[in-house]
């Protein structure tokens, strides 16, 4: 076992035999304070490693179970039967490495479509010598069951993906979500370009989460280099991350209004989002905070004039929000429409590792900002149990005001320091791993970088929060009307491109 974790990475690496992997994962996962983080494969010269990250958030630590397959072996015992949250990650390893998780209950391709790519293409392990089966949809059988295929191109201005509904009349009995249409080969490309330029592409993994992705990348690189960004940069990054949360949550309140035909909310909230984007532009130079957070710090300082303008803009925005949010969230018609719709039970949310606002609406108390994030102020995550559309909307409202509080506090006492560590001439250490964890606006976002013996990036894994949460949507919609799908979908508002990579 040549790999070591970067010293500031709060995880330990535990070599295990592949045959013991499922049991060791199960032992931890069945304890309520552990959760599944991610599962990746890595190609060594002649063999494959299966690395399973399990997290113990309350302690701010975790463990990587590292199972080394024998040379030429292309399978291992699946952990999904014991750890359901791993079901998509194991399938992704199947596509990208040609390694089969034996005993996986829904084994099939997930990212690489058989009509777009050769069945023997395994992008992260050249010449794996394996072949995928063409994709087949799960078939619900029974009298009166009919299927509704939707997508990949949807009616609105939204990303592509295919939804296969199996329905009994108007009621959905099963939804199968097939994504992968936007697979762009991000993970491999990140190993091909110089690491000094990798932050541009890492940030674009899901470009609507620029601050989140850039921060996760920066944290992973900083762990590898064993450097700490200056306090002013930490504060400015926190502001950027919370502005991103603010703008997207506000946008979603408007979009939820639109999906139930409540045009007052649909027309009042986009301009409020625009007001947040104006603050983003003051801070970073662009509405979408592009290229602002970089390894070592941030790319631009906030001078006093712009800081004052931000404080004023935020105060005005808060006033407008206090006036407009009750118009939606306290409106009897809105509550009537959202309450009980698209319910995701806390038990299933835990089994499938649902993260972010969707997880916290279904009983979870997990928020990276309260656990692994050492930049954060003392923070209590929002929490509800009902797991319906209304809870997800209410969580967002609470997080909107929490984000404003965080930004306000940071702007009030911006530390005086440089804004970045100079990384000119910096070299990544050989055979190390760094893992950047961020509570992006959709939830736990993870960038996991491993270097090879020359210090080049050998494996770059990204886990978007959507990768966890798509299954949550598929479960929540069961037993609901077809016509409620847009509303449920918007209440999760997941990223397709962050999932497809």
């Amino acid at each position: 076992m040549s790999l070591t974790l970067a010293p500031t990475t709060p995880f330990e690496c535990l070599p295990v035999a592949p045959e013991h992997l499922p049991e060791l994962a199960r032992q931890r996962f069945k304890q309520p304070d552990w959760r599944f983080g991610h599962l990746i494969a890595r190609a060594q010269q002649d063999h494959i490693l299966i690395e399973t990250l399990l997290l113990q958030p309350a302690q701010g630590r975790g463990v990587i179970l590292s199972a080394e397959l024998l040379a030429g072996v292309r399978e291992y015992p699946a952990i999904t039967p014991h750890v359901p949250a791993a079901h998509w990650a194991e399938r992704a390893v199947g596509d990208m490495f040609g390694v089969r998780a034996v005993g996986h209950p829904r084994w099939k391709s997930i990212l690489l479509h058989h009509d777009a790519w050769p069945l023997d293409l395994t992008p992260l392990l050249p010449d794996a010598g394996t072949s995928r089966e063409p994709y087949t949809f799960f078939k619900v059988k029974g009298e009166g069951i009919h299927e509704i295929p939707v997508g990949p191109i949807h009616a609105g201005i939204i990303e592509p993906g295919h939804f296969r509904f199996s329905c009994l009349g108007e009621v959905i009995t099963n939804l199968e979500i097939r994504l992968g249409y936007q697979h762009r080969g991000v993970e491999r490309r990140l190993c091909e370009i110089p690491w000094q330029q990798a932050h541009f592409l890492a940030e674009s993994a899901s470009s609507d989460t620029a601050a989140g992705n850039a921060l996760a990348h920066a944290r992973a690189i900083e762990q590898l280099l064993d450097i700490t960004p200056p306090p002013r940069a930490v504060a400015l990054r926190t502001i950027a991350l919370e502005l991103e949360r603010l703008s997207n949550h506000i946008g979603d309140i408007g979009a939820l209004s639109g999906d139930i035909g409540y045009s007052v909310g649909a027309s009042l909230f986009p301009p409020l989002r625009g007001a947040v984007l104006a603050l983003c532009q003051l801070l970073t130079g662009t509405r979408r905070q592009r290229w602002f957070i970089v390894p070592g710090g941030v790319a631009r300082d906030l001078d006093d004039g712009r800081r004052t303008a931000m404080v004023q803009g935020l105060a005005e925005l808060t006033q407008r929000l206090r006036k407009h949010i009750p118009l939606v969230i306290e409106h009897p018609g809105v509550i009537e429409r959202m309450e009980g719709t698209g319910r995701l039970s806390p038990g299933l949310a835990r089994d499938f590792g649902i993260v972010g606002p969707a997880g916290r609406a279904s009983g979870s108390r997990y928020d990276v900002r309260a656990t692994f994030d050492r930049d954060a102020l003392p923070f209590t995550p929002a929490h509800r149990e009902a797991g319906d559309v209304l809870s997800r909307a209410q969580i967002r409202v609470e997080e909107i005001f929490a984000a404003i509080g965080i930004i306000d506090a940071q702007l009030a006492q911006l530390p005086d320091s440089p804004i970045a560590v100079d990384l000119a001439g910096a070299v990544l250490p050989a055979e190390r791993a760094g893992i950047g964890l961020v509570e992006a606006w959709r939830g736990e976002l993870l960038h996991w970088i491993t270097t090879d013996e020359t210090g080049a990036i050998a494996r770059y894994a990204i886990k978007d929060p959507s990768f966890n949460n798509w299954t949550g949507l598929a479960i929540a919609i069961r037993g609901n009307l077809v016509a409620d799908f847009p509303l449920c979908n918007k209440s999760f508002n997941l990223s397709y491109s962050g999932n497809d990579l």
């Binding site: 009509d115 201005i157 592509p160 936007q182 541009f200 674009s204 625009g274 984007l277 979408r288």
Partner: protein, 249 residues
């Protein structure tokens, strides 16, 4: 109970009257090439992650080209240029009708013939297809909100390609989106136009050259309007649409 109608009545007009205004000084915009002579230090070329800049010695000094179809506006070049040859341009009127026009230069070119006017002068109905750049989608959506209000120009986004005059593409079009995109185009009645919004749609941007062959829409369909930026500003997107309609802005 809060009164929604009172809120609407007291909110007032939110729509920006000025069409395609300059961005404020706080914003970075896109880089532009000026007539100021290049010092030849090559810092811009070294810092550009997109290979979007070329420097070629010629009789007058050094010819500089900058391809906005590749540029992601990271501003490594404008920050490192000591001669003022590459500077930040805060105009939102950045859309063009041809791919060549995205390549800026400090040497004068023969001005190419203006592209044919399109038949959609008063209204344009658009089908949007996203292929892997969701932040550009957000800026397209923003163009429809009450602040930018693209509907005031007779521009509407429609659900079916059957109703659409134009296909607006965002994202780099990887292999798995190629067929859905081409089938969407096939379903449109002629005459039909294609608009590429964002650097990744124009050239693949950061994704260009990978195994997913996500090199943009330009090689797949005849594009009539190019909107550079990663992502473009909503005003730039509206500029790209108004250009197609031959409207003065």
């Amino acid at each position: 109970m809060p009164n929604p109608f009172l809120a609407l009545l007291t909110t007032g007009l939110l729509t920006q009257r000025d069409c395609c205004p300059e961005l404020p000084d706080d914003a970075t915009g896109l880089p532009a090439v000026t007539a100021s002579p290049c010092a030849g230090c090559r810092r811009c070329v070294e810092r550009c992650p997109m290979q979007a800049i070329t420097l070629t010695p010629d009789a007058e000094g050094i010819a500089v080209t900058l391809d906005r179809g590749r540029c992601i506006a990271c501003h490594g070049c404008t920050a490192s240029c000591p001669a003022g040859t590459i500077i930040a341009d805060r105009s939102t009127r950045t859309a063009v009708r041809t791919r060549d026009a995205l390549v800026l230069s400090n040497r004068t070119h023969a001005i190419p013939a203006a592209p044919q006017p399109t038949p959609f002068r008063r209204s344009l109905h658009i089908r949007e297809v996203s292929t892997g750049d969701n932040v550009s989608d957000l800026e397209v959506i923003a163009s429809t909100n009450p602040v930018f209000d693209v509907a005031r120009f007779g521009i509407h986004f429609v659900a079916s390609p059957r109703f659409a005059d134009a296909l607006l593409v965002t994202g780099p079009v990887g292999r798995a989106m190629r067929e859905p995109l081409l089938r969407c185009y096939d379903a449109m009645a002629e005459p039909r136009l294609v608009i590429a919004v964002g650097t990744s749609a124009i050239s693949g941007g950061l994704h260009r050259g990978g195994y997913a062959e996500a090199n943009g829409v330009t090689d797949l369909l005849p594009v009539s309007s190019f909107v550079p930026g990663d992502p473009p500003h909503p005003w730039s997107i509206i500029h790209g649409l108004l250009l197609l309609m031959g409207r003065e802005v």
